[in-house]
């Protein structure tokens, strides 16, 4: 089962990378959602997999072996944080569209415009 889940992780990662490398900010957003799931699954799978009882202490059954609770707690925290980040990215994508009228990240060249041919020779210092 672990092998299959690892394969799932690999496929999800590959898909996310593929989407991120496409030049669309919207697809980047999709990738982000996917890749958050990857990280959570890695924590979860890495913590050991057993189809076991939930991590609820039951005084009636003191011998009950329960699922490792620590990865669960970590994944919970990560899901919530991930939600915050993705939500923000979503708004950013929206703003980008409104401002640039494009979601093609290769066309967003405002912070680093194409360098002019005469980069350094614009300096006024004399050159031989």
């Amino acid at each position: 089962m672990t092998a299959l889940l690892c394969l799932l992780i690999a496929v999800l990662t590959a898909t996310s990378v593929w989407l991120m490398l496409s030049r669309s900010l919207v697809r980047f957003l999709f990738a982000l959602v996917l890749v958050s799931n990857v990280a959570n699954l890695v924590i979860f799978v890495g913590g050991g997999l057993e189809p076991l009882a939930p991590a609820l202490v039951d005084t009636a059954q003191p011998d009950l072996v329960m699922a490792n609770p620590l990865p669960q707690a970590l994944v919970l925290t990560a899901i919530v944080i991930g939600f915050g980040l993705v939500a923000f990215m979503l708004v950013l994508a929206l703003s980008s569209w409104k401002v640039f009228r494009t979601v093609d990240i290769d066309q967003m060249r405002f912070a680093e415009p194409e360098p002019d041919e005469a980069t350094t020779s614009q300096l006024e210092e004399p050159r031989a």
Binding site: M20, L25, F28, L32, V35, S36, V38, A39, N40, V42, I43, F44, V45, G46, G47, G48, L70, P71, L74, T77, A78, I81, G84, L85, F88, M89, L92, S95, S96, V99, F100, I105, M108, R109, F110, A111, E112, T119, T120, Q122, L123, E124, E125
Partner: protein
């Protein structure tokens, strides 16, 4: 006294809450923000004094002892860096008062600054790897907000790049943490040291370590994953640039250093030559960027990368002297970078344009600003009598040290090349922006005309940064002894483990 780390962590957080809760008044929010920073500074001084005199402070919030609860550890390194952060915070918040416009302030600029500070202080103080991730996220989301507030086209574009690449780094870090947890079954750094040190030649540790290296490498802007930095730092208001330049990459380096020495000690040692190569490449890339750049703010962004390269040189050397040099440079770099950007911020009011060629005449209008720049530039270039000189001296001595070997020679050659080539762009700014007559026609006020006024809070911010830097230049002993103690602390993880877990480490080191 063990409440001090908690207080250091909560002060910026509560300040952020107070700012967001206060009426939308520029002045009130600004003062709250400065107040919070000052409180943090006092606490940080107190904390460092305690740590220096009585050893590391360890707090187990909730009373769960390590490794079960999350531990906050203020050792020499963390306490020193929290203090440096607090000092930067005071300067930056004061500067923000007149630099940040109404709109940004109303949207909660000062609050977001303190969210960032919370993340930074938390990252320095935490002794738990997952908790480190959480504080990284706090810092990151705060920085995202600062990046996007008031977006014009340029700023928005920079923000998209900054955010996209940092999110990749974050996810990578989370993945690496998941793997590390799966591997070791624990999250506490001291406990992780115990578990990982007990393994021998574990290639899996190398794999996880490699993922951490890439994740932190992105945060720290190490070659080749640095691109977000020069793509975004120049697009934000100068206060934000200064804050980021002083803190952001440094947190990445800190995490690399902390996790590297505590958890992946053996792996880091085996990758020493790789680290040296990365350091040299980062340095050269920063220098190349600075040389090729004609825009003032982007040139400053490349300067940040140069300092990352220098830091990494010392880390890669790995000897106690090398680490001490790097940590000395760490603090000096924070102060100098922040000062450099504030100078540019003030200069832009009196004749600095975006392009160097269009700038000029600042020295004539504001001689004191020129003096501050010259001092800072010399400090960055490592020319005496500045703090930067002592950092360079420390690097050279570490490189000449008997334990440095070939890596020491590489370090010295890289240092010489980078210092000399790095001097050119710094002096180009001096010649072009300060000395050259202003092409835009800025001129000293004629009689009867009001001269261009610089607000006193902004002057205070700059003078405090340059002043501290100058004091370090005149009397580097204090900072050096702190850096040395911190270097000893990270090169002997056994001590850290003992303070946190209260036991003598069994295996290794």
């Amino acid at each position: 006294m063990s409440w001090l780390p908690v207080a250091c962590l909560l002060t910026p957080l509560l300040t952020a809450v107070a700012v967001f809760g206060s009426p939308r008044n520029r002045k009130l929010r600004g003062l709250l923000s400065i107040g919070g920073a000052v409180v943090l500074l006092l606490l940080a001084i107190w904390q460092l004094m305690r740590v220096s005199s009585a050893g590391a402070l360890v707090v187990q919030p909730g009373g769960w002892k390590a490794p079960f609860g999350i531990t906050l550890v203020a050792d020499n390194l963390a306490a020193m860096l929290v203090l440096a952060t607090a000092a930067i915070a005071v300067a930056i918040t004061s500067f923000a008062l007149h630099d940040i416009d109404e709109f940004r302030a109303e949207a909660g600029f000062d609050g977001f600054v303190h969210v960032v500070l919370t993340g930074v202080v938390g990252a320095f103080l935490t002794g738990d790897v997952f908790n480190l991730y959480v504080w990284f996220e706090v810092m990151l989301i705060g920085s995202f907000a600062l990046m996007t507030l008031g977006a014009g086209k340029r700023q928005l574009d920079g923000a998209v790049k900054y955010i996209a690449l940092n999110l990749v780094s974050t996810v990578l870090m989370l993945t690496a943490i998941g793997l590390l947890h799966g591997l070791a079954g624990t999250l506490n750094l001291a406990d992780l040291h115990q578990v990982m040190a007990a393994r021998e030649n574990d290639s899996l540790a190398l794999v996880v370590g490699a993922l951490f290296l890439v994740a932190f490498g992105i945060k720290a802007a190490i070659f080749p994953v640095f691109s977000w930095l020069p793509a975004s730092y120049h697009t934000v208001p100068i206060t934000v640039s200064a804050l980021f330049a002083a803190l952001m990459t440094k947190v990445g380096i800190y995490a690399l250093l902390r996790i590297g020495t505590l958890v992946f000690g053996m792996e880091l040692a085996s990758a020493a030559s790789l680290m040296m190569a990365l350091a040299v490449l980062t340095l050269l890339m920063g220098v190349a960027g600075a040389l090729a750049e004609t825009s003032l703010r982007r040139l400053a962004a490349w300067q940040v990368m140069i300092s990352v390269g220098f830091l990494l040189l010392g880390v890669a050397l790995g000897t106690p002297a090398g680490l001490a040099a790097a940590l000395f440079y760490f603090v000096h770099g924070m102060l100098a970078k922040a000062a450099l950007l504030l100078i540019i911020g003030l200069g832009e009011r009196v004749g600095m344009a975006e392009r160097l060629a269009e700038s000029g005449g600042v020295a004539q209008l504001k001689p004191w600003l020129a003096a501050a720049y010259l001092f800072t530039a010399l400090s960055l270039a490592g020319i005496p009598p500045t703090a930067g000189f002592w950092a360079k001296l420390a690097f050279v001595e570490a490189g000449l040290g008997a334990d440095a070997g070939t890596a020491g020679t590489v370090l010295i050659v890289a240092l010489v090349v980078a210092s000399l080539l790095g001097l050119l762009p710094l002096m180009r700014i001096w010649n072009e922006a300060f000395c050259k007559p202003s092409p835009a026609g800025f001129a000293p006020a004629a009689p009867g005309q009001v001269p261009i006024h610089t607000p006193s809070a902004s002057i205070f911010a700059l003078v405090s940064l340059v002043g501290v830097s100058a004091l370090i230049g005149i009397w580097p002993t204090l900072l050096h002894s702190l850096a040395e103690a911190a270097a000893v602390g990270i090169s002997t993880p056994a001590e850290y483990v003992q303070v946190v877990l209260g036991i003598k480490p069994e295996a290794g080191s």
